[in-house]
């Protein structure tokens, strides 16, 4: 910003009229006082890494959803009133259907760009939820949810939940055979609620399923209530992001105390703004070239019909999988019915999952006893337990997702449906612990590998023959920058408990809990590899030099190894041994 307006707020600013933009800025600042905050934000620093784009994809897809959604709402008619279709689509002409379905057909076939917007809206919805999920995994794997960012993690988790609900509401609006079937399943889930189930169902549908209320009600939720909440939460998410400043990867000059990157104006704004157009462009191409939810093929909703192989949108896959592999347990006692087969997978499991996701930062903090602020990201391998936990969760997700398509698997691969289901029932308990163990060992061996590189250098690919005729691979030292990057991490500190039993053998009031915590903390960090100390590193380098001296000095033939790793050219190299 240029010089402030020469005004104390009572006399008009008397700047020489510079240019129209300056005049507008001046006008605005005299009323809003924006320069004070703008002076800091305009050159605000944003660190760069490809994985920081994932959240941006989610943000931009939401903007696309708002734009395309408003377009659709100009023609969509959220009514369950019955009409006879007489639009352009031959196959359905003369058929009774709801106005919602008829207007969706109208948008698809009689409004130019209508089908494009419908498909863009649906693709953007898929992308929105997928991007949030992957973004969340990135935040998890790099430890970006740690103090002081726990609240932003919770906001993100709620956003994901709202996105899924919003997607389900939208999917239900066209009132075609598939979406009606989805609503019917929702009705069954609601009815399984203890005590209140049938009342909740009647209140939701305005009477018996399907009634004539659910589409208008979902419409209000879909275009007003949930987008409003999402918008407010995104605003809070962004404000906190600005307040905390973005995390960054450790590296030379990048510490817990600073943030290094490009300024908001111009580089970040150009990149982020450009990226919006790229996401928008990709969604437009998808909407124009790839069919999604061709509702005209399913026909209007009819409670007596269903299509085989009916599938919900992908993000509902795990709920679907849980419902499918659950055994048919139901209790009938004292005249009441408890449908565990529906209640557990349909209501309890999602709540438990949400609880784990939202509570995770606090669980980890409690176990590790780590209450420090963290602004440097952690490489996934350096938090083996956390990384392995996510790997196990991904395996649960994948299994449930596959279980949600068990009929498709059966028909595509000619397998027996029942066998797949029995397999999934077992796998859901056996596979995740295995994945956990493998992922954890994998992380630890990667940590070892890092230490090897630090201590002995990297493998050059050059095989050396020593005086005794033995062979070894030549190792070359890492660049200082690379070595620093590898060591720029904290040493793990196992929480050992505050007290234990005191001298008189009297246990502190919550000694039990404390012991459990210490034990968990130990298991958490068990077998993690710590970075070498200064002494170890020096000894390692010393050792490497000794080895070097044992090499047979091959007359004019020894290579420094760099000829083969692409660091410099062999042409014109005299191939003498350099020490």
């Amino acid at each position: 910003m240029s010089a402030p307006a020469a005004s104390n707020g009572t006399t008009p600013a008397a700047t020489a009229k510079p240019n129209p933009a300056g005049a507008i800025a001046n006008w605005a600042d005299e009323r809003l006082g924006i320069a004070t905050s703008a002076k800091k934000q305009i050159r605000k620093v944003f660190p760069d890494h490809w994985s920081f784009m994932l959240g941006e994809i989610a943000l931009w897809s939401f903007v696309i959803l708002l734009l395309t959604g408003v377009f659709l709402s100009l023609w969509f008619n959220p009514s369950m009133g019955e009409v006879v279709y007489n639009g352009s689509y031959d196959q359905l002409r003369g058929i009774h259907m709801s106005e919602a379905y008829a207007s969706t057909l109208h948008i698809s076939f009689d409004v130019r760009a209508g089908l494009l917007m419908r498909q863009m809206h649906h693709w953007a919805a898929m992308l929105f939820i997928a991007a949030m999920l992957v973004h969340m995994m990135r935040v998890f794997l790099t430890g970006a949810f740690r103090k002081p960012r726990e609240l932003n993690w919770i906001i993100g988790g709620v956003l994901l939940l709202l996105g899924i609900l919003e997607g389900f509401a939208g999917y239900s609006l066209p009132d075609d055979l598939l979406s009606g079937t989805g609503l019917r399943i929702a009705d069954g889930l609601v009815k399984a609620t203890p005590v209140l189930g049938s009342y909740m169902s009647f209140f939701m549908f305005g009477g018996e399923f399907p009634g004539d209320q659910i589409i208008p009600r979902l419409y209000t939720a879909h275009v007003l209530l949930i987008p409003g909440l999402i918008l407010a939460l995104i605003a809070a998410h962004m404000l906190l992001l600005v307040y905390h400043k973005h995390t960054q990867w450790p590296g030379p000059g990048r510490t817990e105390q600073n943030v290094v990157g490009y300024p908001m104006m111009p580089v970040y704004a150009a990149k982020a703004g450009g990226f919006f157009f790229i996401v928008f462009g990709v969604v437009a191409l998808m909407g124009g070239l790839m069919t999604i939810n061709p509702v005209w093929r399913f026909g209007p909703y009819n409670p007596a019909e269903v299509t085989a192989g009916s599938q919900p949108d992908w993000y509902m896959g795990i709920a679907e999988g849980l419902l499918r592999i659950m055994p048919g347990w139901e209790t009938h006692i004292w005249g009441i019915t408890l449908s565990w087969n529906v209640f557990l997978p349909g209501q309890v499991a999602p709540m438990v999952l949400l609880g784990i996701v939202l509570g995770y930062p606090f669980i980890e903090q409690w176990v590790t006893g780590d209450k420090r602020e963290h602004h440097l990201l952690e490489r996934p391998r350096n938090a083996p337990t956390r990384t392995a936990f996510l790997a196990a969760m991904i395996s649960v997700y994948g299994l449930l997702w596959a279980a949600g398509g068990n009929d498709i698997l059966a028909t595509q691969f000619h397998l027996d449906l029942n066998t797949i289901t029995y397999f999934m029932r077992g796998a859901i308990f056996i596979v995740p612990p295995l994945v956990f163990i493998i992922a954890k060992r994998w992380c630890i061996s990667l940590q070892r590998h890092d230490n090897d590189m630090l201590l002995h250098g990297y493998e050059s690919g050059v095989i050396m023959r020593d005086a005794d005729g033995g062979y070894s691979e030549k190792h070359l030292p890492l660049s200082e920058e690379h070595a620093y990057r590898l060591t720029a991490r904290n040493r793990d500190q196992v929480y050992t408990g505050v007290s234990g039993a005191d001298a008189n053998g009297v246990e502190a009031p919550n000694a039990r809990v404390d012991q459990l915590r210490a034990r968990l903390s130990k298991a958490w960090f068990a077998s993690n590899v710590q970075k070498p100390t200064k002494e170890e590193l020096e000894e390692g380098h010393h050792h490497a030099e000794l080895e070097h001296e044992h090499e047979v000095p091959l007359e004019g033939h020894a290579a420094d190894g760099h000829q083969f790793d692409g660091r410099h050219d062999v042409v014109g190299d005299d191939l003498t041994h350099k020490h």
């Binding site: 130019r112 019917r184 000059g253 450009g274 462009g281 499918r324 929480y495 100390t533």
Partner: protein, 351 residues
């Protein structure tokens, strides 16, 4: 601050490698070579120009291509959709790629450093805030006047009541509605497509017919349907049935169901007892009926018993018989509620 502020034992070990500091900034080709710079500038401008071209082509496509009628000529879509999406997508992509190219090649690429501050406010600010709050509380007198405080809390809580009560008209109470369907003694079981009546001889062994109560097709004296619109959908959601004909020897009917069928023809609810999908996949050989939603499988030769999947209860059976003209009719309504379970289901009043 926090009460369990255990300072962790610090494992003292000197950092193995000292921070070498930010690497030196290396100029890009476009920073030093005016030719490269000029070329990058032209690239960016070309991309922006292309964007305008595609935006105009989008408008041309909008006016020149027909929609409707032929929704599947290209990639399963109308030409209009494909052209609009393609041109619009390229117009947007060109702006995006251009802007990013501009930022990468031409804008300054000097990284800058900003310092962080702890998220918490400084201690003196906290003290001041708490002091201010305490003054505020003291001046309000909320601590000294419990009567005022408690009655206010009471009033706020009571205001929650209208908020909940106002939702009462969201829907009627369920009453006994879930326990009944439109089936009744003597109602004909008809084809769901055209309402044709069905005689036992119309069905071969192994055949399955999707059926509905005849009332769905009935009209009153003025030619108006007896049930239509929402009421029809609600009735259908419970009353849809399937008729199957099996070899009478294969059927293992429960003792009280021996006269519920006609020569191996049985009638079952089509509504899954899991969460209510209409069931449709019939395996003749095994007499199994499979629900397409979550694959619950019911054995129709064995009273609709669940033999696989997440459903918790057998499929309800509709007792049928023949009327005077030899058509298949219901003996009564279902003898239990159809569809998904609910809490008070076993206490439903079925009479």
């Amino acid at each position: 601050m926090s009460d369990d502020n255990h300072e962790l034992e610090h494992v003292a070990a000197a950092e193995p490698i000292a921070d070498p500091g930010l690497p030196e900034h290396l100029p890009r080709p476009t920073d030093v070579d005016p030719v490269m710079e000029k070329r990058a500038e032209r690239q960016v401008a070309t991309l922006f120009g292309l964007s305008s071209v595609f935006a105009i082509l989008t408008c041309v496509a909008y006016f020149s291509l027909n929609i409707g009628g032929h929704p599947t000529v290209f990639l399963g879509m109308g030409a209009s959709t494909v052209a609009l999406g393609g041109c619009l997508g390229l117009a947007l992509l060109a702006i995006g790629i251009g802007a990013i190219q501009w930022s990468r090649k031409l804008m300054s690429d000097h990284e800058i450093v900003e310092y962080r501050h702890p998220a918490a406010s400084p201690q003196e600010d906290r003290d001041e805030a708490i002091a201010a709050l305490e003054v505020g509380i003291a001046e309000s007198g909320i601590g000294r006047r419990p009567l005022v405080r408690n009655s206010l809390l009471g009033a706020m809580a009571t205001l929650g009541l209208p908020a909940i009560v106002f939702l009462r008209d969201l829907g009627p109470l369920p009453g006994n509605k879930l326990a009944h369907t439109v089936w009744a003694r003597g109602m004909q079981v008809v084809q769901d497509v055209d309402g044709a009546k069905i005689k036992p001889e119309d069905m071969e062994i192994g055949q399955l017919v999707n059926a509905e109560p005849e009332i769905f097709f009935a009209t009153n004296s003025e030619g108006q349907p007896v049930i239509e619109g929402t009421a029809l959908l609600q009735a259908k959601a419970k009353a849809a049935v399937i008729l199957v004909r099996m070899h009478p020897d294969d059927i293992k009917a429960l003792p009280d169901r021996r006269n519920w069928g006609i020569d191996g023809i049985l009638c079952y609810s089509k509504i899954c007892t899991h969460v209510g999908c209409p069931i449709s996949l019939w395996e003749q050989q095994t007499h199994h009926l499979l629900c397409p939603c979550h694959q619950s499988t019911f054995d129709l030769a064995d009273n609709g018993k669940v033999i696989f999947g997440p459903a918790g209860r057998h499929l309800p059976q509709l007792p049928i018989t023949l009327d005077a003209d030899g058509y298949i009719v219901a003996q009564s309504d279902f003898t239990e509620p159809v569809g998904p379970s609910y809490w008070e289901r076993d206490r439903s009043n079925l009479t």
